[in-house]
Amino acid sequence: MSNVLPNLKYSKEHEWIEVIGDNKVRIGITDYAQHSLGDIVFVELPGVGDLAEADESMGTVESVKAVSDVYSPVSGEVLEVNEALEDDPEIVNNDPYGEGWMAIIALSDPSQLDGLLTAEQYEALIQEEE
């Protein structure tokens, strides 16, 4: 059973979003996502300063099975990316909600957070998929 943390928000594309300050969020992929992908062998992240757009691709994760887009759940400027993933992509498998975070984004439209899923809603979504 995949782990879903209660204090995070989620997207239908299996990203998690943590509000970490005024209009600032940290983003990664969920435990369910890393489990479905299998062993991740490569992570491509956006550049710092790039403008992410909600529901558009901001990077890719590659596993031995497939290459998948990482969709940005919100719009805004990319403030930081987790460069450690470039050398050690397995961190995403080992700790998707912690050390495996992908980017920190300054929200350009904080109301987008309201459109995201709660932990309960996300849990229902993955139960449906399983």
């Binding site: 062998v41 099975k65 397995e90």
Partner: protein, 486 residues
């Protein structure tokens, strides 16, 4: 059990002084290399080439070649790849001196036969696809896609239109969005509906004045025929876009239905799939592109033309996108495809599709009680299974594929199309006998039973291969790409 049938590489067999060659005595004056090459270009230490006897050399490579799996050695139901048997007459014809010993820079009047073959192959492929003109230059499928998209770009540009978006279904071959991106387009994905068809309403939502093209495979990657294809192409045409046919699945439609009649404007074919030229191991491939009338002026140059009874190469085409491959494509491969088409004839090609579709449906029905079938309607030349049921026993599709190796099969395509969970995509092709199909079906049933009763046998497979399961993760994360001598 961990099998370790790893073989020494040729460098490790080396013993100083052994030679596999026996050169004749020098019959020209011996010249000191130092007098020919400046010091900066000369080796200071000899190249460490392997030193082995001729017999060692023969045994080494013969053993390695015996470890290959090809259609000539066993069943190869790799979905979307059409691993059919390649008749050996194709090889004979490609070796005719008139084809194998000519040079691309020879004067046109001295290679009329070769030019005639290329011209007639273009005509045949145009007839098969319902197109008005064909270029044989693209070296393989994805190259054909890119060429086709560049033609579409040139077409819109010539009409003063800025169209930036290419629409692809979520079941598309990965090369479709990749080729469109390389050709400079933005990609828009359109969803499939629950039955596996393009969602017509979703398509209506995304087409517009910025639509350059829709790329589609028909039958699609789920192996089912897009029955609303005429409506689909109409929707795109009404928005001013063109429709591109990915010919990877053309083995299902030969002599039955033509992309041109379905409303497609541009099509590529994979001769190494549908037309029985070598496939895998570098092929090389061949990915001709056919177009409708409006796109003819943009075809790559040189264009092979016929004037009276004389064949020639035409380069003066001001609107052409230019040359996309050195010379005229992979000529030897095109000779093989031509041989195949002329050997089969129109009736033969029709039977290819009939048998390919029959074989796939037979296999799907036989396996339906044992595996989930996400699209249960009649399939075309291939079908998909889902390993959902087996996953509940802890057996993944990857494990099923590995277990098939124990029985001497090349596994089907797995985890594609991406929209089917734990997907297995099986394409038996028309060239397999019923006995071969039944043997494979029985093995698949046995594996389904093992997944329930003794899952560890499947999870630990393969057991009978030269090496057991490879560490694909480390190979991808930390690849060793170069041999270094210890």
């Amino acid at each position: 059990m961990t099998n370790t049938g790893e073989k020494a590489i040729i460098f490790e067999l080396s013993k100083p002084g052994r030679v596999a060659s026996n050169l004749p005595a020098l019959d020209v004056p011996d010249v000191d290399v130092a007098s020919l090459l400046p010091a900066g270009f000369r080796r200071e230490v000899p190249a460490e080439l392997p030193e082995v006897s001729e017999l060692q050399l023969m045994r080494h490579y013969t053993e390695l070649s015996n470890r290959n799996h090809g259609v000539d050695s066993g069943f190869y139901p790799l979905g979307s790849c059409t691993m059919k048997y390649n008749p050996k007459v194709n090889e004979d014809v490609a070796r005719f001196p008139g084809f194998s010993q000519i040079h691309p820079y020879q004067q046109e009047e001295t290679v009329q036969g070769a030019l005639q073959l290329l011209y007639e192959l273009q005509e045949d492929l145009a007839e098969i696809t319902g197109m008005d003109g064909v270029t044989l230059q693209p070296a393989a499928g994805a190259h054909g896609e890119w060429t086709g998209l560049m033609l579409i770009r040139a077409y819109h540009a010539s009409r003063g239109e800025q169209r930036t978006k290419v629409i692809v279904p979520d079941s598309a071959h990965g090369t479709n969005p990749a080729s469109a991106a390389v050709a400079g387009f933005d990609i828009v994905t359109v969803a499939s509906n629950a039955e596996g068809y393009v969602d017509i309403e979703a398509l209506r939502q995304v087409v517009g004045s910025d639509t350059a093209a829709l790329m589609l495979t028909n039958p699609n990657t789920l192996g089912i025929f897009e029955k609303d294809i005429l409506e689909i192409t109409k929707i795109v045409h009404e928005a001013g876009g063109l429709v591109y046919y990915d010919g990877a699945n053309a083995n299902a439609i030969l002599g039955k239905v033509r992309p041109g009649d379905m409303g497609f404007d541009v099509v590529h074919l994979n001769l190494h799939k549908t037309f029985s030229t070598p496939h895998g191991g570098g092929g090389p491939g061949s990915g001709p592109v056919g177009v409708k009338q409006e796109l003819l002026p943009f075809l790559p140059v040189p264009v092979i033309v016929k004037k009276g009874d004389i064949y020639g190469l035409e380069t003066n085409r001001p609107q052409s996108i230019g040359q996309v491959k050195a010379y005229y494509g992979n000529f030897g491969v095109n000779v093989r495809a031509y041989t195949y088409i002329r050997t089969m004839g129109p009736e033969g090609l029709r039977l290819v599709s009939e048998y390919a579709v029959l074989n796939a449906n037979y296999m799907m029905r036989q396996l339906a009680p044992y595996y989930d079938v996400p699209c249960p309607q009649i399939c075309k030349h291939e079908f998909v299974l889902s390993g959902r049921r087996q996953k509940k026993q802890g057996v993944r599709t990857l494990d099923i594929a590995k277990r098939l190796l124990d029985f001497g099969y090349h596994p089907p395509t797995i985890y594609f199309p991406l929209i089917v969970e734990e997907c297995l995509m099986i394409e038996p092709t028309e060239t397999e006998s019923k006995e071969t199909l039944d043997e494979f079906i029985n093995v698949m049933i046995q594996i389904a039973k093992e997944a329930e009763e003794t899952p560890e046998i499947v999870q630990d497979a393969p057991h009978n291969t030269v090496v057991s399961r490879l560490d694909e993760v480390t190979a991808a994360r930390k690849p060793v790409l170069r041999y270094t001598k210890e």
